[in-house]
Symmetry: D2
């Protein structure tokens, strides 16, 4: 199975974990979701991230989800393995890599503060997991409260060769992409693959800055695929027109805490999930929120037929 | 001079503080800015907020800025007076109220955590400032790290009658507006005026939820005025069309830390500020950022002529 | 097996998890440690807390540790079951309660902020675990960043009857004990058992305020037992004399991050642990630190023979 | 007037700001306090720190306090000038240096996170204030939420020559002192004067690690003077005996938030302050707390006559 590398490009869709109303993992919906992402043209999948409700799964469930997806598709699959201790992180990593995963994603513990602490953490993680396991660094200060400067990311890339990709969701983050590419051009730092998150909120501009694509879970992954493809083809105007039409909904889905409920609701309405259930502790949508989603979908559908949902 | 009250509505523009390149306060630009806001049709002004660089001003400069604005316009003016101790807060409040301010705005110290601490703080502030000074509570967790629940806001409104307005910038915050209006309808809490911030990022939906208007500093205050007016007239479709055209720029300006630089840059290009200087510590725009602003303004100008800038 | 209740008193020693130098769980040392705690006269044990390196254990290891301890002693055993999701919390709880645990301890997720969020979290946890599982609320703002006011704790005690005990380690925290006891006396809140943590740093005064005892892992649990017993017998002067002799070491052991290394080092020197190994990420002692521990032990041994270690 | 330098040693007492019950600054008590510190044998004074309630003073009051102290003593005086913007920091600095202050102390804004941000902040502050103003860096993560690693402090010392002193109150912090001294010995960083805070809680051990003395406000500055002197004379045993006798009270006074109330209360009982008033927002002592202080003073007085207070 192919592994991710420092030159990986494209769209990695972050898949939610489907649950039935009683809280059981819904593997049937998961398979349908995988087929949908393949049809949408994504380049890879990411499982068991924050939005995949990973911390609410048992170890056995986590492994079963990865196995189910890998049995369904040949796409490269990145698996979130963040854990407070390296022994459980290593255990999950070994299992999913043996199943055929393309790499693992690690968010920093929220107690890290100084540059040395952050660099040291990824160095220790790299040693614990072994040099042959590609690692994605998740740079998401709003959630993890850990701020990674450009020099820190450059040091991580130099000192831990198995770190191959940055899941970029610092905010603001545009200058960071440019600075990383400049460091790379100046040979001060090795190239990293940069896939952008934050629900896609700045994807139009991130591609101009030198990002390699997106890794996020927006409920219309087709939009991410189109924007990345149009940018790659130099059709910037079309990319912006399409992106701007989706921006009101992207903004809505990107609200912290609320986002996953919106995402699961729309994926259910798209016929992919049987239920929009989240495991507890969870957050469900109010009638006002459902009406707002209807409004935003309706307005979007005038620009993008795919948003015309039942 | 009229004071703000629990039924105040409309758009309160947050004015930046203009500086000359050498860092001196630029009163000429400030007067021009006031005239511009008046022409744009705003209902009031807010001075010396976070975006007004208030912490970087001496006491004397702060008072001079307020005096200059109040000498120029009859619009109601809210003044930010947040301070670590009540004695300096009281000193500034007394001066600006004597000059004719319509009320003061207070953000919470970032050390407050529990419900009782927050309610107690505003109660003590109300007592320190006196019952006749209308107070705006600034609810901005992303900046202040203080989370105010709906019951807390209801308690503040009940226990401190001089608190008349909520500057709403929790995120996500739509449900909070509905919950406050429901508490008011159930007579569990007095009515508060709710003006929304966050750069306007959710203004389209906030008006549907029962907000009374906007209090923010977006570089096109005309947009805020139009959206609030169209909403009030029930012309929701037009409001959304106009809002959506501005959303790519609103999103861009709302980036933490970067936003004020964007705002001052555009206000300078609109001919209002002589310089986009911020006082140190500051953040200036990169060439990439200026190019992005050009792109966003250019795309916006196809929908809104006012965005066609030199 | 007896369960903890709202009238539980005494000393619950927090046991570290012994590891061999290769990182394997050292059950032989664990059994020796249990015998030592029994001989020291503690009233109960707490397993799998922060200081038990719980997040670094696999589920199977956690269960094995609890089973080993419960097979060795009839003392009541509280088990830390904090987890991001209720399904894994419930799974571990069910297993350890079936094995004979006396109750479970739950620390709050660090994202909780408002009173309602905190009360709601423990209510949901109580429902998820079932009414017959006694719960200890861990109130440790320095580590969890969650501040629980007295009204919040009173609400939790009223609304979730299965919450029977407070592990008290707010800092400062003396007034909180008095306020909880006053609320109880005024029948505004049910009685909770209050066992104090913080390494014992304020145990001399906490007992005067109405605490029921200690739940902490100080490397001389005999001191905790003596102070609680002397306080119960009204021999305050002796309690203070003994406590003060230990205070320089208590203070040293209570340093965040460093404390567990100090504790394991001394328990190893006391012949209880075969190794002071922590699982990665970990913190080992410098030569300076070992010299400081020698100095503090040597000085202490002039007052307390038990501190004369090889 | 002598300036502080990278070789400054001894005890700098942090003076509280005395207020009368009506909140007015009490200059008479301030003068008495200065005489007391001189008699106690301190080597310098620090004004307008966190414990000096600096944020609750107007600019004019702050300057008057500094002028009053400098008119009363020839001891070197360090003045806290932390401010959100460099213009007000510069204004206060210029005034107090002109009055004869020995240097200024600057705590970091709580928004700084990365190494570069912290180093850059002190570099900008040094430039703003001018090369001839000696600066004390306040390293107090518990209050400021800014973590300064040893490499960061070494960079600050290298890049900003006017930074001459570290007010050390990281916790745990012993290893940091040793690491800074090792960096200095290896010529990787210039020497900094290191004076330790944290209420003196680790002063016994800090002196062994290579600290130059103390800068803190413990209510018995004589103890700080004695411990530093005994350590300098190699009379370590006596230093420990005296320190240990004070430790129960030191620990009590060092409780966050409560500490200043304890300190002012004891200084009032020592006949130095006319009132223990703090400016609002404030924290007063409960009857329980006053009884605890009585108990601790009484026990201490058996070892140190100076603690026998009316």
């Amino acid at each position: 199975m192919a592994l991710i590398s420092r030159t990986t490009r494209g769209v990695y869709a972050i898949a939610p974990t489907p649950f039935l109303p009683d809280g059981a993992v819904d593997l049937e919906s998961l398979r349908r979701l995988v087929d949908f992402y393949v049809d949408a043209g994504v380049d890879g999948l990411t499982l068991l991230g924050q939005m995949g409700e990973a911390p609410k799964l048992t170890h056995a469930e986590a492994v079963e989800i990865v196995a189910t997806v890998l049995a369904r598709t040949d796409l490269p699959v990145v698996v979130g393995v963040s854990a407070p201790g390296f022994s459980s992180m290593k255990a999950l990593t070994d299992e999913v890599m043996a199943l055929g995963a393309a790499g693992v994603m690690i968010g920093p513990p929220h107690t890290l503060r100084t540059d040395d602490q952050i660099v040291g953490y990824y160095s220790a993680a790299g040693q614990a997991l072994g040099a042959d396991v590609p690692i994605v660094v998740q740079d998401y200060p709003l959630t993890f409260s850990v701020v990674m400067s450009v020099p820190v990311l450059a040091r991580i890339a130099r000192e831990t060769p198995s770190v191959v990709m940055l899941k970029h969701e610092d905010w603001p983050g545009l200058e960071k992409i440019s600075a990383l590419r400049a460091a790379q051009a100046a040979e001060e730092a090795p190239r990293l693959s940069i896939l952008c998150g934050n629900g896609g909120l700045f994807l139009d501009l991130e591609m101009r800055r030198g990002a390699d694509g997106a890794m996020t879970g927006y409920c219309f992954p087709e939009l991410l695929v189109d924007v990345v493809a149009l940018a790659a083809e130099g059709r910037a105007g079309e990319a912006h027109d399409l992106f701007d039409a989706h921006l009101p909904l992207i903004r809505y889905e990107q609200q912290p805490g609320t986002g996953l409920a919106v995402r699961k609701h729309i994926l259910m309405r798209r016929g992919l999930l049987r239920s929009d259930t989240q495991r507890s502790p969870q957050r469900s949508l109010s009638p006002d929120e459902r009406a707002e989603i209807d409004l935003l979908l309706n307005r979007l559908s005038h620009h993008d037929e795919r948003a015309r949902l039942p």
